[in-house]
């Protein structure tokens, strides 16, 4: 099926060296069966001068617009238009000034309702401004005019406005007005026509913020569904950038509220949102994104260049069994100091160990000073060593760069050591860690950012800023080559499953099809002569919104957090059900206390082919579980069954009481002890032949989840449960909870 995708970027894709350009390029090239139209906003004039990258043939057309300059079309509003503008802008600003967008401390019912009302107000004012810009033009001039300033001043002085906004002085108002005008420049674009964004089947915004704004308007004007991908949350980036600048509190408060409202509206209007990791996901949930819309799609790395090293064809023989490798950009956030201190302890336990720091120079001004500081510390901590009295000595810590004779490529950097160490205190998505995993190296990393989510159970994780813990973990692995090998193999398997380009592209392919399958065809279908085809489009019901949704308030404490920790599932006793029932990705809370916190299998480990329960950190990677950062039981050895292709029921029950293998959670969620493996009886097979077909008998309790919006796409589903009780030979357990809607 051919899908026409309007790819929206800001300061990104077709321009050379833009943000996320590589990802967009891979996505467009990987999905050659679809058609892409690129709508790009350029961020600076220099970026425009630098030109575009080579575009593959599936890119139909590229439309660009500058964000760095306002287009003054010379339109001056008349009295009626000006009133329309001031009303809309006033509404927008009142919604912005009317309190925090993303929920203050009190989230009582009335507070949530009023927040919702404010969000609605913001959205309708935004669309009104967009309509004004489409009808009349001249929005850029109007947003900087004196009447806009008056509206802004009035909104700031209104009782009930943000406390910080009330202190705004005239320069602050000017700054805010200029910033809002810049942020709303996409409203004045001429992309919202039937032959532009209207011709796309869906809009895919490659980032939040300004890139998502055209998608928002295309959805409003033309009904094009919107998909938002955020590898870094725009709102968070705004906060960090704003705190670096020295603006008045009133400016920062107003702009933060504005961007918060905008993010909320983008998340509300988006059909699906794909955060890049669970950290971004939590921010999005916090900003009001509906959980049902979120699909985490991890970024993908090109695995081919690590294949030789990862498969052991190259480099493993030259690897020094006593060498630790650190690869990355040398900057203070990587905490090399702590690594050097840890290395001192490692050498106390294991003399003869070497540390190779393979650094790429960072652009930051203080990076060079930091590197010099690290070198000095290394020279101070470790004297040069030599083989004998006649040999020239060398420092056990070496600072190297990629491209030299010893380390010609990045893969060689990982290949040259037995163990890869990551000592960061701040980290987003740890690309270096994924590279190490693809190289099949055992890793020891600090628990920051998305590290735990990435590593799963295939490496050791220690708390940040804890050199002793880092040292202990490294020593444990240095002394156990077999374990290193096992972990490395498991890490490579996990990375190949989760963090490859193919995985990323396949995920987006599926998401595109999912969105298109849920959105009605709006264009008239014509035959060869250009005549409209009657009944060319099947009549279908499109229900806007979700009518089975229960209201979910993110700020409330979740159920699992009330009371003592509980075990998600029964300890495995009967595993007679097939692994094919693995559609339950949510372990059920509230059944039994846990024997050990580390036995919780998170959703990630369910997806992994082979989660090695080596470290305690791995199984903790589920987003919903109270984390217990402990490293102590890492020495517990893994059962031998770990590398069997798929742990069968027998293997699991013999070895898995401590470490439940993959299918346990769903097996145990069917709590009837001797539940038959039961292929579906004849009458049942037909109604459930849809995408969500389940090979188990359908109990009465299934009716409720099956009435979700998804089930509308399967004709005849509703008939299933009514037939079921009479036909089923098996007893119906009441507690079967198969969340059919969870499609990810």
């Amino acid at each position: 099926m051919l899908v026409r995708i309007g790819l929206l970027t800001e300061g990104g894709y077709p321009y050379v060296g833009g943000d996320a350009g590589l990802w967009c390029d891979r996505l467009v090239r990987g999905l050659g069966q679809h058609e892409f139209d690129v709508y790009a906003l350029s961020r600076t004039e220099r970026q425009e001068d630098q030109g575009w990258v080579r575009l593959p043939p599936q890119v139909g057309r590229v439309r660009t617009a500058p964000l760095w300059t306002a287009h003054d079309d010379g339109v001056v509003y008349g009295r009626r238009t000006r009133r329309r503008f001031t009303e809309a802008y006033g509404e927008l600003l009142t919604a912005v000034c009317g309190g925090s967008a993303t929920g203050g401390p009190d989230v009582s019912g009335s507070g949530a309702d009023s927040a919702g009302a404010e969000a609605d107000r913001f959205a309708s004012a935004l669309y009104e401004l967009a309509e004004l810009a489409r009808d009349e033009g001249g929005l850029a001039v109007a947003l900087r005019s004196e009447s806009a300033m008056r509206v802004l001043e009035h909104a700031c002085r209104t009782p009930g406005a943000l406390r910080a906004a009330r202190t705004a002085r005239v320069p602050d108002l000017l700054t805010v007005a200029a910033h809002v005008e810049r942020a709303l420049r996409p409203l004045s674009l001429d992309w919202y026509e039937d032959d532009a964004l209207g011709s796309a089947d869906l809009c895919h915004a490659a980032a939040g913020g300004a890139a998502a704004l055209p998608g928002l308007l295309a959805r409003h004007f033309l009904g094009v569904p919107l998909l938002v991908t955020e590898y870094g949350v725009h709102l968070r980036a705004h906060y960090l950038a704003a705190s670096a600048q020295d603006e008045a509190p009133a400016v920062r408060a107003l702009l933060a509220a504005f961007h918060g409202r905008l993010a909320t509206e983008v998340y509300r209007a988006a059909t699906l949102i794909t955060p890049g990791n669970s950290h971004a996901r939590r921010w999005q949930e916090r900003c009001g994104a509906d959980r049902a819309k979120l699909r985490t799609v991890h970024p993908g790395l090109e695995d081919a260049r690590f294949a030789e090293v990862g498969e052991g064809l190259r480099g493993s023989r030259s690897a020094d069994p006593g060498a630790l490798v650190w690869v990355g950009r040398v900057e203070p956030a990587k905490d090399l100091i702590s690594l050097l201190h840890a290395f001192a302890e490692i050498r106390r336990a294991e003399p003869g160990t070497r540390l190779r720091i393979v650094g790429t120079p960072a652009e930051a001004p203080d990076a060079a000073a930091y590197l010099a500081h690290c070198r000095a510390l290394a020279a101070q901590l470790f004297p040069d060593e030599a083989e004998g009295v006649h040999a020239v000595g060398d420092n056990p810590v070496s600072f190297e760069e990629i491209g030299g004779p010893e380390i010609p490529s990045l893969a060689d950097a990982y290949a040259c050591g037995a163990l890869v160490v990551l000592s960061s205190v701040v980290e987003g998505f740890p690309v270096g860690l994924v590279e190490a995993m693809l190289c099949g190296r055992a890793t020891v990393s600090t628990d920051v950012g998305a590290v735990v989510e990435v590593i799963g159970g295939t490496g050791l994780v220690v708390p940040p800023r804890n050199p002793r813990a880092l040292a202990e973990a490294c020593v444990a692995l240095l002394r156990d080559p077999e374990r290193r090998e096992r972990l490395g193999a498991a890490a490579r398997a996990r990375a190949l499953e989760l963090f490859t380009v193919e995985q990323n592209i396949t995920a987006f392919h599926g998401i595109y099809l999912e969105i298109v399958s849920h959105s009605p065809v709006r264009r008239p279908v014509v035959d060869e002569e250009g005549e409209p085809l009657p009944f060319g489009v099947p009549a279908e019901a499109h229900v806007p919104g979700r009518w089975t949704r229960t209201r979910f308030v993110t700020e409330r404490r979740p159920r699992w957090a009330e009371g003592a920790p509980v075990r998600a599932t029964e300890p495995a006793q009967s595993r007679t059900t097939e692994p094919a029932q693995s559609r339950t990705t949510e372990p059920l809370p509230g059944q039994e206390p846990l024997p050990a916190a580390d036995a919780l299998p998170g959703p990630d480990s369910l997806l992994a082919p082979m989660p090695a329960p080596e470290s305690t950190a791995g199984p903790l990677s589920g987003p919903g579980f109270p984390p217990v950062p402990e490293f102590a039981d890492a020495s517990r050895s893994a059962p031998e069954t770990l590398f069997a292709p798929m742990p069968g029921p027998m293997a699991a029950s013999s070895a898995g009481l401590e470490f439940p293998p993959v299918p346990e959670s769903m097996a145990a969620s069917v709590s009837a002890p001797d539940f038959p493996p039961a292929p579906a009886p004849g009458p049942m097979a037909a109604p459930f032949a849809g995408p969500d077909s389940l090979p188990l008998p359908v109990p009465g309790a299934m009716a409720a989840p099956m009435t979700g919006p998804d089930s509308l796409s399967v004709p005849g589903t509703m008939a299933g449960p009514s037939v079921a009780p009479g036909v089923l030979p098996a007893p119906v357990p009441a507690s079967v909870a198969v969340s059919v809607g969870e499609g990810a």
């Binding site: 401390p105 005239v170 320069p171 000017l174 906060y239 933060a256 800023r465 950062p629």
Partner: protein
């Protein structure tokens, strides 16, 4: 949000049975307090809890850390920290005075001051050349002088406080040139035309035009003064009305200063060149040009363009009516201009046209240049 004093640090805390078993005093009663102290700056600066959350994460605080502090996640930890930070919202940041200008700014000021003097210097040289030469060379001096002065004017207006980020339209430039040309030759031509001429060349009014060419320098200084003072008022005022009220006298003052300088220049040029200085015509034209430039520099191009065109058109029309009155049956056309010139001299016409225009622009400037939006700092294209 009120903080429960019995459970410091745990407004969202879990009812952990292990709480009582913990050895007392190991980590202090209030684990969040240390964190608050460490990130004091962040918390005091933050405008909402999410900013603290973003800052904490940038410092490596994760959900695991928050869990150790008995919070569900970083967001709830940030909310507690936000609520517990004493933040005096009324602390008015010290009104930053644009104090001593930076060396770069003073160098720029020197450069535009020098450039503003260029047209005057060129004009003086041309006038001297015209006085000293005769015949063919004189024509060459005149032509090259006009070109040089045009280039000088372009240079003087390209930078400094009179420069405009907004594109001036070609028509406005053409009308400005026409007005200057009329100031140079218009009065003489009008006189000659009324007498049935022109017969050969007619006298040129070089003194007023030289004064007008010297005027960019005081104009730039006055505009700079106005802009700098207005910026200072801007950072000090709390409301738009207050700002407008404080800037209006400033505008009038700067304008008056410029007028005084212009009349001084006119008197000087008149004395040196021994010509009638033409206070009315040249003075009003200078005022008109300054106001038009001030408005254009701040993006208000529409009204100045129209007013310049109107004044120029009136002057052109006067000449046309005088010449057209020689056609048979059209003698009554010359009536109004003739009457005016007979009553108050030929200089009354440009004075009237430019004076009316300047008055309109003065009213317009008093309305628009006192707006805060007219003094917005230029948008930096990051």
């Amino acid at each position: 949000m009120t903080i429960d004093s019995t459970g410091p640090g745990a407004p969202h805390g879990l009812d952990d049975p292990g709480e009582t078993d913990r050895p007392a005093g190991r980590r202090g009663v209030d684990p969040v307090k240390a964190l608050l102290h460490r990130h004091r700056d962040l918390c005091e600066r933050a405008v909402d809890p999410l900013e603290i959350a973003a800052g904490l994460e940038a410092h490596g605080v994760t959900d695991r850390t928050a869990a150790r502090l008995r919070h569900r996640d970083v967001f709830s930890l940030a909310e507690e920290m936000y609520a517990r930070t004493a933040r005096d919202a009324e602390a008015v940041p010290s009104a930053e005075t644009p104090g001593s200008p930076s060396p770069r700014g003073s160098r720029a000021a020197a450069s535009w001051t020098a450039l503003a003097l260029v047209p005057g210097a060129l004009g003086a040289a041309v006038v001297a050349g015209l006085r000293l030469t005769d015949g063919q060379p004189r024509l060459a001096v005149a032509v090259s002088g006009v070109l040089a002065v045009a280039v000088g004017l372009y240079l003087a207006l390209r930078s400094g406080p009179l420069s405009s980020r907004h594109r001036t339209t070609g028509t406005a430039r053409a009308w400005t040139c026409w007005l200057l040309a009329y100031a140079l030759a218009g009065d003489g031509l009008l006189d000659a035309a009324r007498d049935g001429g022109p017969h050969g060349s007619w006298p040129l009014a070089t003194a007023p035009v030289l004064a007008l060419l010297l005027a960019p320098a005081p104009a730039a200084w006055c505009a700079h003064l106005f802009a700098a003072r207005a910026r200072r008022r801007l950072s000090a005022s709390r409301g738009l009305e207050e700002f407008a009220a404080s800037v209006r006298p400033l505008l009038i003052g700067a304008f008056g200063l410029y007028l005084a300088a212009l009349f001084g220049l006119l008197a000087l040029c008149g004395t040196v060149l021994d010509q009638p200085p033409g206070y009315a015509g040249a003075g009003t034209l200078g005022a008109l040009l300054l106001l038009a430039r001030l408005l254009t520099a701040r993006g208000f191009t529409r009204v100045p363009g129209r007013v310049l065109a109107g004044a120029g058109a009136v002057e052109a029309l006067a000449l046309v009516t005088i010449l057209a009155a020689r056609l048979p049956g059209c003698s009554s056309l010359a009536g109004p201009v003739d009457t005016l010139a007979a009553a108050a001299g030929p200089g009354a016409l440009p004075a009237l046209a430019c004076g009316a225009g300047a008055l309109v622009l003065l009213v317009q400037a008093a309305r628009t240049l006192t707006r805060a939006s007219a003094h917005a700092p230029p948008d930096e294209a990051s």
